[in-house]
Amino acid sequence: MTGENIIHVKNLIVRRGPVTVLDISDFKVARGRILALIGPNGSGKSTLLLTLAGLLRPTSGQLFFQDTPVDNMASLDMLRRNASVVFQEPLLLNDTVYKNVALGLKFRRLTGDETKKSVDEALNYFGISHLAKRSAKTLSGGEAKRVSLARAFAIKPQLILLDEAFNSLDPPSWEAITDDLRNILAETKITAVLALHDREETLRLAQDVTVLSNGKSIQSGNTTQIFNHPANEFVANFVGTESILEGVVETIATGLMEISINRKVIEASGDFSAGQKVYCCLRPENIIVSKELPEKISARNVFEAKVQKIIRQGFFYKLMLDCGFPLVAYITMPSCEDLGLCEGATMFASFKATAVHVIRRKK
C-alpha cells in the first residue's frame, strides 16, 4: 500500500471568471476514511469534488493522488481511472442496467468474464441483481440511484466521490440506500468523499467532516468534534446546535433503551438491539435545568451538570453543560436570573427519553 493519503490538495485556487469559487490551502483524505463535505449551496462542494476527480482543472495549486503529483496526462489518467464520481442525477445511459454498470469496465477493455464478475458483484452489493436486464429508463428514482452507485463501484475505485447523491429520494429509499452504502464502504474499505447537505446523512455515513463556506474550508475534524464543538457561529448554525453523543445500546425493554455514554447511562425510546452503536442527538430546547434534584417527574434522565460556559444568544442563553458528557441547553433570560446561574455552578439537567433522537452508527 502506498501513502497514507489517498488524495491531497495544496494551495488550491479555482476561479470562474473574476470570481474565486474555491480557495483551499490544505485538504487531504486518509486511506479508508469517509469524509463529508458540508456547507450551503454555492460553498464549493461540487467544485472541490470535480477537482479531486481530475475533471476540473484548477486555476492553481497542487493535487496529489496517492502521494503522486497529478500534473501530466499520465497521472491525470491514473487519477481518473481510480476515482469514481456519482453525481446528483443518476445519468444512466439508455441501455440495460447491466450494460450501464459495465460501462466503466468496457472503457478498460476487460474481458467478458472479468466484466461479468465485477458487474454481478456490484449489482449484488446494491441489491439490484434482479434489475440487470431492465432498461435503465424504466427505473424508479431509488433504483436508478442504486444503478449509478453500482456503476461507480464496479470499477473497484480507490476513491469514491459523491455529489449530493441522495437529494431527490423519498425517505424509505433514502434510508435503505444510505444504509447499504455505509455497509459497502465499511466492507470494501474504499475511501470516500461525500458532498452532503444534511446533518443526519453526515452522521449516518461519515467519519470526518470538512465544512466549506464561500469556497473556503472553515473547519475539519471528525464528526462528533464538528457537531459538538463547532469552531464558529457559521458552523454552529449550519450543523445545528444539537448535542451529539456516541453511545452503545446496553439493554432494551418495551421500547425503552438504556444507552451507555462515557460510563453514564441514558434512557431513550426506540428499539435497536443491544450492542448496537448509536448516536444520541439532543436538542438544546428539550433540556430542563434545575437548581435542585427534581423529584417525581416524567423525564427519565436526570444528571448532575456543571455549567461550563454561558453564552448570550439574543433573548436566551446557551449553556454548555458537563454531565460526564457534553450537553447544550437553552434557557430564557428570566429563568437564568431566577436560577442565579453562573459559570462553574453545579445544576441538574433533565430530559425525556422521547427527546433523545437515536441514530444507528457503524463505526
Binding site: L50, A53, L55, R80, R81, A83, S84, V85, F87, Q88, E89, L91, L93, N94, L103, G104, F107, R108, S135, K137, T138, R151, A152, I155, L161
Partner: protein, 232 residues
C-alpha cells in the same frame, strides 16, 4: 376530375405492372439519395458533435450558420455545385457534370447541414454532467464521444429521416447538375417535372405516388426502430 382519376388508375397500372422504366427511376432515386444521406451522416455527425463538445470563439456564429444551412435552397446549392464542376470550373477536371455523382454531391451538401444541426442539438441536449460522468468512469476522449453519439441515437435517426426526406424530394439541384438524362440521371422528382411538363399526367402521378410511398416506408421503418428503443 376525370383526368385525375384516369391518372391515378394508370399510375397503379404502371406500378403494379412493375414497369421497368419506373422501376429503374425509383431504384436510381434511392441509390443517389441514400448515398448522399450516408455521406451527410458522416460529415454532419462528426462536425455537429465537435461543435457541440468544444467551446471556442465564435461558436454561436457557427451554430447560427449551421442552422441557416438547414434551410439551404436546393436551387442555390445546385447552382454552386454546377459552377464548381462546370468544365472550366475549379473542379471541372473531374468531368462529373450531368452524372449521378454530381447529384450525390449536391444532395449531400443539402442534407449535411440538416444532419449537423440536429446532431449538434442532440448532443447539446444531453445532461451537462453526462460527459464528466463518462470521463470519470475512465473513458478516453474518443470513448466519451462515442458514448455520447450512441446516447443520441434517437435524435440522430430523426436526422437521417429529415436528411433523406429532404434530398429524395428535392428537384432543383438534381435537375441542374444531373441533367435528367434518361436511364442515367433521371430520378423520381426530375421525371415527374418532365412528364407533367409534357402533359403525361398519368406517369407523373404514378411517380408522385411512388415518391410518397417511399417516403412513408422509410419513415415507417425508422420510426419502428425508434419506438422499439424507447418503450415508454
Amino acid at each position: 376530375m376525370e383526368l385525375i382519376l384516369q391518372g391515378i388508375t394508370k399510375a397503379f397500372e404502371l406500378i403494379l405492372a412493375f414497369d421497368p422504366e419506373v422501376l429503374g427511376i425509383t431504384w436510381l432515386s434511392l441509390k443517389i439519395s441514400g448515398t448522399a444521406t450516408f455521406i451527410s451522416l458522416f460529415i454532419g455527425v462528426s462536425i455537429g458533435t465537435a461543435v457541440a463538445l468544444n467551446d471556442f470563439f465564435g461558436k454561436r456564429v457557427v451554430i447560427s450558420l449551421i442552422n441557416t444551412g438547414m434551410g439551404l435552397p436546393p436551387v442555390v446549392v445546385g447552382l454552386f455545385v454546377m459552377i464548381f464542376i462546370w468544365r472550366s470550373g475549379p473542379l471541372g477536371f473531374l468531368e462529373i457534370l450531368y452524372t449521378p455523382y454530381a447529384m450525390i454531391i449536391a444532395q449531400a451538401i443539402i442534407a449535411t447541414p440538416i444532419v449537423m444541426g440536429i446532431s449538434l442539438a442532440a448532443i447539446q441536449n444531453l445532461p451537462p454532467h453526462l460527459r464528466l460522468q463518462i470521463l470519470s468512469l475512465g473513458a478516453s476522449r474518443l470513448q466519451m464521444v462515442w458514448v455520447l453519439v450512441k446516447e443520441s441515437r434517437l435524435p440522430l435517426l430523426a436526422a437521417v429521416m429529415a436528411g433523406f426526406g429532404g434530398v429524395i424530394s428535392e428537384v432543383g439541384a438534381s435537375i441542374m447538375v444531373g441533367g435528367n438524362i434518361k436511364g442515367y440521371s433521371r430520378v423520381l422528382t426530375t421525371a415527374t417535372v418532365m412528364e407533367s411538363g409534357k402533359g403525361n399526367f398519368d406517369i407523373a402521378i404514378a411517380l408522385g405516388i411512388i415518391l410518397l410511398i417511399l417516403a412513408f416506408l422509410i419513415n415507417l421503418m425508422l420510426t419502428q426502430i425508434q419506438q422499439r428503443q424507447n418503450p415508454r
